[in-house]
């Protein structure tokens, strides 16, 4: 397979607070191929957003610190590039859409002003040309009346329109990677539908890869090619989207899928995952899901299960699955020491 666009290896991020060291991310392995949409799911506080921000080195330091690992983007380690190169990457080669469009647009500048700034800065074009690019992008996100929208202020647009303007802005430099951090969570369901359709169309057309962060498994199922599931600062499962929903392996993924109420059938009660997410100041020493897991057995409380492939492209970090049937077996057993 070709070299992935982005590969994250063994990434750990910690926050040094007065209460202690919060181990927000630990040993994250993740990769994104060219042109694919990778979904990242997990519940509040599992580290999804910290991971997204680490990719652009946006984790505030202090208190946050990337303590180990590497993030290779087109072969280059983002954690080691200098400030100038980092500024070239941000917004140009990798761009990001945040959850709340109101707080990521500047209220005192017009949409046109903010959009043009990005284009002028990164593509070194004149104002007229930048304006033309902005108009073109706005019409690509199906913004009604793009000419007038350029001279409007963010508060004059509805939530869905603001988010569409953000998408237009972030894709105006044709980035290779778009990081979308819960881009539709603040929107109503019919507007969410519009925005997702536009996003999907546009990124496929310009061939950008997307890291799509969401807590909504429905959105993930509809949009993504592959999915990684996070729990308490670790990736617990990565698989192609069909495999993840049809054959989830990690007990946490299974629980998460069963906890969603169905649109098609009526059940008396929903499956639940007992207990609560652990505090990341003193996480469980072994598998972080072990205290809530019904299938817990001997090594779980002691040994961290490594992420290992159980079938092609489907990796799980769980002691129930000690490696793939054939070749990959060695990798996982080495760290597992079960028996």
């Amino acid at each position: 397979m070709a070299e992935p666009l982005l590969s994250i290896r063994n990434l750990s991020v910690q926050f040094f607070t007065y209460q202690g060291v919060v181990r927000a991310l630990e040993g994250i392995d993740l990769m994104i191929q060219r042109g694919e949409i990778l979904g990242l799911v997990g519940e509040t506080g599992c580290g999804k957003s910290v991971l997204a921000r680490s990719i652009l080195r946006l984790v505030p330091d202090p208190p946050g610190k990337i303590t180990q690992g590497e993030i290779r983007f087109k072969g280059e380690d983002i954690l080691r590039v200098n400030g100038k190169r980092l500024r070239e990457i941000r917004g140009n080669e990798i761009s990001m859409i945040f959850q709340e469009p109101m707080s990521s647009l500047n209220p005192v500048f017009t949409i046109g002003n903010q959009m043009a700034e990005v284009v002028i800065l990164h593509q070194r074009v004149k104002r007229d040309r930048a304006r033309a690019i902005c108009l073109e992008m706005l019409s690509q996100v199906k913004m009604p009346d793009p000419d007038r929208v350029l001279s409007k202020y963010p508060h004059e647009l509805s939530g869905g329109m603001k988010q569409r303007a953000m998408i237009a802005m972030e894709l105006s430099c044709r980035p290779a990677l778009l990081i979308a951090d819960e881009p539709t969570t603040a929107l109503d369901v019919t507007v969410q539908g519009q925005v997702l359709t536009i996003l999907d169309d546009l990124v496929r057309r310009i061939g950008a890869s997307v890291l799509f962060i969401s807590h909504d498994l429905g959105v993930i199922a509809q949009l993504c090619d592959r999915v990684s599931v996070m729990y308490a600062g670790r990736v617990v499962e990565t698989a192609p989207v069909e495999a993840l929903f049809a054959r989830p392996r990690h007990p946490y993924t299974v629980g998460l899928l069963q906890a969603i109420p169905s649109m098609h059938e009526e059940r008396d009660s929903l499956m639940t995952i007992p207990g609560v997410v652990p505090r990341l100041i003193d996480p469980p020493p072994g598998c972080r899901f072990a205290p809530r897991c019904a299938k817990r057995f001997e090594p779980c409380d002691r040994v961290v299960p490594p992420l290992s492939e159980v079938e092609t492209g489907h990796a799980v970090a769980c002691h129930l699955y000690p490696g793939a049937p054939e070749d990959a077996t060695r990798k996982s057993v080495g760290a597992g020491e079960d028996g």
């Binding site: 519940e43 509040t44 509805s158 869905g160 329109m161 109503d188 369901v189 019919t190 507007v191 969410q192 539908g193 519009q194 925005v195 997702l196 359709t197 536009i198 807590h215 909504d216 498994l217 429905g218 959105v219 993930i220 199922a221 509809q222 949009l223 993504c224 989207v241 069909e242 929903f245 049809a246 629980g255 998460l256 899928l257 906890a259 969603i260 109420p261 169905s262 649109m263 098609h264 009526e266 059940r267 008396d268 009660s269 929903l270 499956m271 639940t272 995952i273 609560v276």
Partner: protein, 333 residues
């Protein structure tokens, strides 16, 4: 069986002040002629997008907001005219659980006080009686006895919502409004709270109004469902009928917009174009007509009335109106 609570033609307009001398210049038409009834042991789900007036309906039913017109009947008595003691007596039977468990609990009150307060206010119990009833209700919602002596910040979101539920239940109400009780929670915790809400109903026969924007959640808890759009109920039906045979174009679009958690069933999500119009400048005729793919001439001028199309299934849409003199041309389009 007579309904526990019944709303007849509720209207609530919020004035918007402006101009030189702060006169009323416009009205935000939050709720316009809403009627509904909730029977003993029944859950009515109320769905709609933000700003459609769901929460206002909930508040009007409890008389937390004064309606401009219409009636709210509790066992046949109109509670919108009640004041003082009489109102307080009724309110014991009508309770609410709010959306945000963070801001609906007083951060400086012990849980014992928060949960026991309704008893004291209503003079239902005092002293050790309050403590023992708080203990009992905490056990019922799945919390421990010693949680009484803690403050809200010591709890997780799900636990706080359990406290909110305990506070609503302690006076032994008949009817409870749940205003988006799980929208601030994660799915795994949401499932716990939804199960609790259903268990409590099975055990005690409460009636619920369950307000939510999440359709699958509403389907899970409700017996009947009403769909709101811009201050009016456009469709109401038993849950299975609403999901399997939705009639109103808005209901159909809403259902089609929900992303299904099944990658094998990918569907077009952006079925509805445009945004919800402002409730200040409500479209004439049918409020949905500017976004409706099936809009006809008549929809622009005449507001459709709600008609029963199947037992218990009513729709406010001209597509299902009785044939009139000009009905023939309509059918062909």
């Amino acid at each position: 069986m007579p309904p526990v609570i019944e709303a007849i033609d509720l209207v609530k307009y919020f004035p918007i002040y402006g101009g030189l001398f702060g006169r009323k210049v416009e009205y935000l038409k939050a709720v316009d002629s809403v009627s509904l009834a909730i029977h003993p042991g029944e859950t009515l789900g109320l769905v709609g997008e933000s700003g459609c007036g769901k929460t206002t309906v909930g508040y009007l039913l409890l008389n937390l907001l004064q309606c401009d017109r219409g009636q709210v009947l509790h066992h046949g008595v109109d509670i919108t005219r009640l004041r003082g003691n009489a109102l307080r007596k009724v309110r014991r039977n009508l309770q609410i659980v709010f959306q945000d468990p963070q801001s609906s609990l007083d951060p400086r009150m012990l849980i014992k006080k928060t949960v026991g307060y309704p008893l004291e206010v209503n003079g239902l119990a005092r002293g050790s009686e309050v403590v023992s009833r708080v203990k009992r209700i905490l056990a019922e919602v799945g919390l421990d006895e010693d949680h009484m002596y803690r403050y809200p910040h010591e709890f997780s979101g799900g636990q706080r919502q359990r406290i909110g539920i305990a506070r609503a239940l302690i006076t032994g109400p008949e009817f409870i409004v749940f205003d988006e009780p799980t929208s601030a929670l994660d799915v795994s915790v949401q499932a716990q709270i939804l199960n609790l809400i259903k268990e409590l109903q099975a055990r005690h026969g409460y009636s619920y109004l369950f307000i939510s924007h999440n359709l699958s959640v509403v389907r899970h808890v409700s017996h009947r469902i009403a769909v709101m759009y811009l201050g009016t109920i456009v469709e109401a039906a038993p849950r299975a009928a609403l999901f399997e045979r939705p009639r109103h174009p808005y209901t159909r679009a809403l259902l089609a917009s929900v992303p299904e958690p099944n990658p094998q069933r990918r569907h077009v999500l952006g079925v509805l174009s445009g945004d919800v119009p402002s409730p200040v400048n409500v479209p004439t005729g049918c409020r949905f007509h500017p976004r409706c793919a099936e809009a006809m001439e008549k929809c622009r001028s005449v507001a459709p009335v709600s008609l029963e199309v199947a037992p218990g299934h009513s729709v406010a849409c001209h597509l299902y109106g009785p044939s009139e003199s000009d009905g023939g041309t309509r059918r062909q389009r």
